[in-house]
Subunit: 338 residues, 2 copies
C-alpha cells in the first residue's frame, strides 16, 4: 500500500456516512473546505516536515526551515484559490536544540514569510522529541462561498497550465546529495548562477499565492493542484479526481534554464527532473478554452504555460512528442513505496 492508496481508503472510511452539510470536501484535496457560516468558506491544510526525511539540519538553516514549513502550506492554499489568513505551528525539538538560537531563527523565517502575505500566527504546540526536529504547519484560509478551486472539475477539452518553470527544486536536491556534474559547455559564472538558483528553489520555495487568488476569484481554473510530488504524479492525482485523462506536450513543458545548464545531458535528463522531480510548488491547473484568453500574462512576475489538454478518462495520462505518444507514469515522490 502506498500513501495514495492509504488516503483513498481513509477517505472511504471517513466519508462512509456522507459529508455533513458544512464540509464541502473531505480528505483528498490540497486543503479541506468547510462552511461554518453562509457567505464565506474556510480552507484548512496541514503539512508535516520531518528531519532526515523532508530536510537535513546541516543544510537547512533554521530560518530557511521556518520559511519552507509555511511555504508548503501557503502553496496548498494557493492551489485552492484561497486567501491565507491564520497559521498554527506544532514544533517538536530535542532538548539540545531547545536552548539555542534555533527557535528564534526558525520563527523569524515563519514571521517574515507570514508578513509578506499578511498571515497571522495564532497558535500551535511545542513538544520535546528524543531526536530530530519535526514541524507540523496548519494554515487556514478563506474565500467567498463556493469559490474554492478543487482538484476535481476539469472536463475533456480544458487546457492544462503550469505556472513558472519546473525541475529546479529536484536539481537542487540532487546537488545537495551528489554535488554538481561537470558541465564544460557553460561558463563558471553561468554555472554558479544556476547552482544558486536551484539551491534557492529547493530550500526557499516561493508559493504561488497571487496566481492562486487570481484563478480562484476570477473563476478561471476548473481544477487545480500544487506540484509538490512532481508534475507526473500530481497530474495523475488531478486526473483521478476529475475522472479524466490528459495529454501533455513534451516541447511545451517549461524546464528551468538552470536545470539545463547543470544537467550533463548524459548524466541526468532535465526533462525527467521537470516531469518527476517534485517540490517545485508551482500550480498545475485547467482552464476551459473559452476562458483561456482571460488568463493574465503574468502574476507577481511569474508566467503560466499551456502544456496540454484534458482528454476523456479512456485516453489515460500521456506525453506527446511530435507524432509519438507515450503513457506518462506517475513517478514522483512517495513516502511509502510498495
Amino acid at each position: 500500500m502506498d500513501e495514495f492508496e492509504f488516503i483513498r481508503r481513509l477517505r472511504g472510511k471517513a466519508n462512509r456516512t456522507g459529508l455533513p452539510a458544512q464540509v464541502l470536501t473531505g480528505i483528498g484535496d490540497d486543503g479541506t473546505v468547510i462552511r461554518p457560516s453562509p457567505g464565506k468558506d474556510l480552507i484548512v491544510t496541514t503539512d508535516l516536515l520531518i528531519e532526515d526525511i523532508d530536510f537535513r539540519k546541516k543544510e537547512t538553516p533554521p530560518d530557511v526551515l521556518g520559511h519552507k514549513a509555511l511555504a508548503v502550506s501557503l502553496s496548498d492554499l494557493a492551489a485552492m484559490g484561497s486567501t491565507p489568513r491564520w497559521a498554527l505551528t506544532s514544533l517538536g525539538v530535542p532538548k539540545q536544540v531547545w536552548n539555542t538560537e534555533f527557535l528564534d531563527r526558525f520563527y523569524d523565517g515563519i514571521f517574515k514569510l507570514a508578513e509578506r502575505y499578511q498571515v497571522k500566527l495564532i497558535g500551535g504546540d511545542t513538544s520535546r522529541t528524543p531526536a530530530r526536529i519535526i514541524v507540523d504547519t496548519i494554515l487556514i484560509g478563506e474565500c467567498l462561498e463556493g469559490k474554492a478551486v478543487l482538484r476535481a472539475g476539469a472536463k475533456p477539452g480544458d487546457l492544462v497550465y503550469v505556472t513558472g518553470e519546473l525541475g529546479a527544486a529536484a536539481a537542487g536536491l540532487r546537488l545537495l546529495n551528489r554535488g554538481a556534474d561537470p558541465t564544460p559547455a557553460h561558463s563558471k559564472e553561468a554555472r554558479d548562477a544556476a547552482i544558486e538558483r536551484v539551491m534557492r528553489r529547493q530550500l526557499r520555495p516561493e508559493p504561488r499565492v497571487g496566481w492562486g487568488l487570481v484563478l480562484g476569484e476570477e473563476h478561471l481554473a476548473t481544477a487545480m493542484i500544487d506540484i509538490s510530488d512532481g508534475l507526473s504524479s500530481d497530474l495523475h492525482h488531478l486526473c483521478e479526481e476529475c475522472k479524466v485523462g490528459a495529454t501533455i506536450d513534451r516541447a511545451k513543458i517549461p524546464i528551468d534554464e538552470a536545470v539545463k545548464i547543470l544537467c550533463g545531458r548524459r548524466a541526468l535528463d532535465p526533462l525527467m527532473l521537470a516531469l518527476h522531480g517534485g517540490e517545485d510548488f508551482e500550480l498545475l491547473f485547467t482552464v476551459s478554452p473559452e476562458n483561456a484568453s482571460r488568463l493574465p500574462k503574468k502574476v507577481d512576475g511569474v508566467n503560466a504555460s499551456c502544456i496540454g489538454q484534458i482528454e476523456p478518462a479512456s485516453s489515460g495520462v500521456r506525453l506527446a512528442e511530435g507524432s509519438s505518444v507515450w503513457e506518462l507514469e506517475a513517478l514522483g515522490f512517495q513516502h511509502f513505496k510498495n
Copy 2:
C-alpha cells in the same frame, strides 16, 4: 527557558503589531478564537504526541493512541466552552509500521471517539519518519459569537471548581513506569479494580466535552483551562492570564479513590499526584458567587467540586489546610525544564 517562557516570548512577537479584528485570542490559551464571519466564532487547537516522550508504543495499543490523540484536543476545546466539529490528523510513522495493522487500528480509535461527539475527520498529512511515531491532531470547534471561555476572565471572589477526580492519570503513569507499591491495607479485588481504573485514566482519558458546553453556552464560567500539566501548574497558568491569585482548600481537592488505594502512604502522597500529576484532562474553571447555584450537579455523570476561590494577584497562588496557608508552586509537567 522553559516552554511557558518560550510561549510568552512567541506571543509577544506574534502580537507585536496587534491582533487583527478577526483574531480574538492569539497564542497562549487552550485554543485560538477566530471570527471569520459575524455571529459565530471558531476555535482551533493542535496537540503533538511524540513516541517515547508522550507515549510508549509497547503499552499503547494503536486504537488507544488514536483515542488519546483526539481526546487531548477535545479536552482543549471543552476548556474553551465550544462544540468540537472538524479534526485533521498529521501522522508520521517509520516504514516498518506503515504496512501493518497499526494504521487501521489507530484510525479506528480516532473514528470511534469522533463519532461519539459527531466530530468529522476532514484532512491531515502523512509522512515517513526515520524512527518513532508522531501524531499532531488539529481540532476546530465553534460557538456563538463571543461565547468562548478564555483562560482570562476570573475576578477576586470567584469560586474555583474542578470536574471529576484528580491524580489517577499520574498514578497510572507511575504504575507503567515502576509497577504497583505493596498496599496490604486493601483486598486484591479492590487493588485490581484500582489498577484498572488508573490505567484507563492514563491511557484513555475522557474529555469533559459536555461540561465545557454547559459552562460556555450558559455563560457560567468566567475563566477555564483543562488540567493537562497538573492542577498546580494549570491553576498558575489561569491566574497569570487573569492577573489574579487563588487559594485552594486542601481538604476539598477531589482525589481519586483508586489513587488512595494504590499509593502506599509513605511511598507516594495521593495529594501530590492530584496537585501536580497532570493528564487528568478535567476542567478547572471559575464561577462568580451569584452564578454558583446555577451550576448543574452533574454533567454526563461527572460532578464538579468547589476547591477554593480567586484572590487578588498580591496573594499569589496558595494551598490552605485548616489555619495554615502555603504557597502552591507550579510543579506540573514541563517538556523543557531549566
